[in-house]
């Protein structure tokens, strides 16, 4: 590759200063995570006698086993299962209903199509945080408190994904639908055999974003899961603090915090390209 930025790229001292600046940034980003990791490997006594050590201790297995198996109110392993079901449910649910309705809006002319389009447009504007009390009442009315459907459905009632797929379907060449029609394919065959395979990357990118969105939910599970066995891990952490936080079981709480980060970190770092694409797509 030709050196395009010879005038601009810093060399020698300047280059080192650039790296130094970035490393300071990394320290700011990773210090809280590092400290949590250290705290999850030492004893409660080490932490209660400040300053706590800054290098990991040897109680890793003990703390994580305690968290996963017994936890404080409920086993953390169980909370992770709940979080996983919720995150996957939100991601799959939203993608499926959005693909179907985007297909209908783009490829059919039906009465009420415009109204439908504007109605879902409205949903872009109102995060769940704003309508918590009445949504809670609806969910309670259906007897969906402490249930997975109660955790999932209110969070898929938004049209961001529908818009995304609509935008994408609009860019699919008309010739493909025409060819499918000439060949006598039914609309659903066209959807399944042509549109879905073409949308693979978009679906995957959106899946990454929605999985993290679902996993990291806090307020909603806090409201509707009063039974500790239905807690998700992200909301369960706060429940581990006693009313005065002086005697909080820090090693177990910090082990739980680390466990709560692992799945989304794996997704973000492991699927970095899809993640960045999803981020850019969903803000268009």
């Amino acid at each position: 590759m030709a050196d395009h930025s010879g005038m601009v790229e810093k060399r020698g001292f300047g280059l080192w200063m650039t790296h130094l600046g970035l490393i300071i940034g990394l320290l700011f980003v990773f210090f809280p995570i590092w400290l949590a990791l250290v705290a999850s490997t030492v004893t409660q006594a080490d932490i209660m006698d400040p300053p706590m050590p800054l290098l990991p201790g040897d109680h890793f297995f003990e703390n994580y086993r305690k968290a996963l198996v017994s936890g404080i109110n409920a086993p953390v392993a169980w909370m992770m299962v709940n979080s996983m079901i919720m995150a996957l449910g939100i991601a799959f649910g939203k993608i499926v209903i959005s693909l179907l309705s985007a297909f209908a809006i783009v490829y059919f002319r039906f009465p009420g199509r415009r109204t439908f389009f504007w109605l879902i447009f409205l949903t872009l504007m109102l995060p769940v945080e704003v309508r918590i009390v009445p949504t809670y009442e609806v969910v309670a009315g259906f007897g969906m408190l402490n249930s997975y459907s109660g955790l999932i459905f209110p969070l898929i009632a938004s049209a961001t994904a529908t818009f995304l797929f609509r935008q994408f379907f609009m860019t699919v060449p008309d010739e493909l639908a025409e060819a499918a029609r000439v060949d006598g394919a039914s609309p659903m065959q066209f959807f399944r055999d042509i549109l879905l395979p073409m949308s693979r990357t978009n679906i995957a990118a959106l899946f990454v974003i929605l999985f993290i969105y679902g996993w990291n939910q806090y307020l909603w599970p806090l409201l509707i899961t009063t039974d500790p066995s239905m807690n998700t891990i992200v909301m369960g952490i706060k429940q581990m603090f006693p009313s005065g936080d002086d005697f909080a079981d820090w090693p177990v709480i910090m082990a739980t915090s680390i466990l709560a980060m692992i799945p989304p970190v794996i997704v973000v770092v492991g699927m970095q390209r899809l993640f960045i694409r999803g981020l850019v797509d969903s803000e268009k």
Binding site: M7, P50, Y107
Partner: protein
């Protein structure tokens, strides 16, 4: 924009949109309508019936010093979160953009906080600044500074701001880096050849060309600070001390679920709804403009 080629059918498309219609109607439009409806009533002291008060709840709220204080708190909080997070992210993105090799490694590491839930970020920062066991508060103590965010409202605000901004660095960094990389290198080279130093180039060329990204991030970050930082506030301060970190979304929760004041909570929801609506319009207007760039 319309498709030229469409399929025929009436029942099939209706069937296809049905799941979304049902879910949106039940879990979105009905509750949103309820919020608007409930905002016009107050329950009697026994919670048995509702009394119509028109805009009474709104008048009461706007005259209520606690609610007005919460408005100010929200404004201060969102501006600080936005400025701190975007400032750090821009600084890191400018540095990463200067690298030809290795910026990918930094990017991979800097996106971690995006994966950390706001509530978990809250717990991490609470741990560092805990008045009894926190490492940072302990070292501050050595320096003679007595950190106590449980009692000091300004320190509490500082802590929730930093914890919220920390979680947002990844997002801002990615968009700034993409914005910087989209600026043609030849423009910057030309300025360099003319003898413009780094800071001059940044001020006169890079920053103006980056303004679409910056405006976009401003709106998105304010929306984030308004609505997605509940977890940070709830884990670190629970709105305290003396409501000094009670942002509007936290107050909807505190009044509606803790205080059981449904009419007031619903009215607050409606006010927030208007604010989100305005922010969304700003965002769309801006994005429309961005298309012309």
């Amino acid at each position: 924009m319309e498709k030229r080629v469409t399929f025929k059918g009436l029942w099939l498309p209706l069937l296809l949109v049905l799941p979304q219609i049902v879910i949106t109607a039940v879990f979105f439009f009905y509750p949103a309508g309820q919020a608007i409806w409930q905002s016009l009533f107050i329950p009697d002291p026994f919670g048995l019936s509702m009394k119509y008060v028109g805009l009474g709840n709104f008048e009461y709220l706007l005259g209520n010093p606690y609610y007005r204080a919460s408005f100010v708190t929200t404004a201060v909080f969102s501006i600080l979160v936005t400025v701190v997070s975007m400032g750090i992210a821009l600084y890191l993105a400018v540095l990463a953009d200067r690298l030809i090799k290795g910026s990918g490694v930094y990017r991979t590491l800097l996106i971690w906080p995006y994966a950390v839930a706001p509530a978990v970020a809250g717990v991490l920062w609470l741990f560092m600044f805990n008045t009894r066991v926190g490492v940072v508060s302990w070292y501050l103590g050595l320096l003679g500074y007595d950190w106590n965010h449980v009692l000091n409202g300004e320190e509490a605000m500082g802590l929730v701001v930093v914890a919220s901004a920390w979680g947002r660095i990844s997002y801002n960094f990615l968009f700034f880096l993409a914005g910087l990389q989209a600026i043609p290198k030849s423009v910057i080279e030309a300025a360099a050849i003319d003898g413009a130093r780094f800071w001059t180039r940044f001020r006169t060329i890079v920053f103006p060309l980056l303004s679409p990204t910056t405006f976009f991030l401003l709106v998105v970050n304010i929306v984030y600070a308004f609505f997605e930082t509940f977890g940070v506030i709830h884990t670190i301060t629970s709105g305290g001390p003396q409501q000094s970190t009670t942002i509007l979304v936290y107050k909807v929760y505190a009044d509606g679920f803790v205080g059981q004041d449904l009419g007031s909570s619903a009215a607050q929801s409606v006010i927030l709804l208007v604010i989100v609506g305005l922010l969304t319009i700003v965002q769309f207007k801006f994005i429309e403009r961005r298309v012309h760039y």
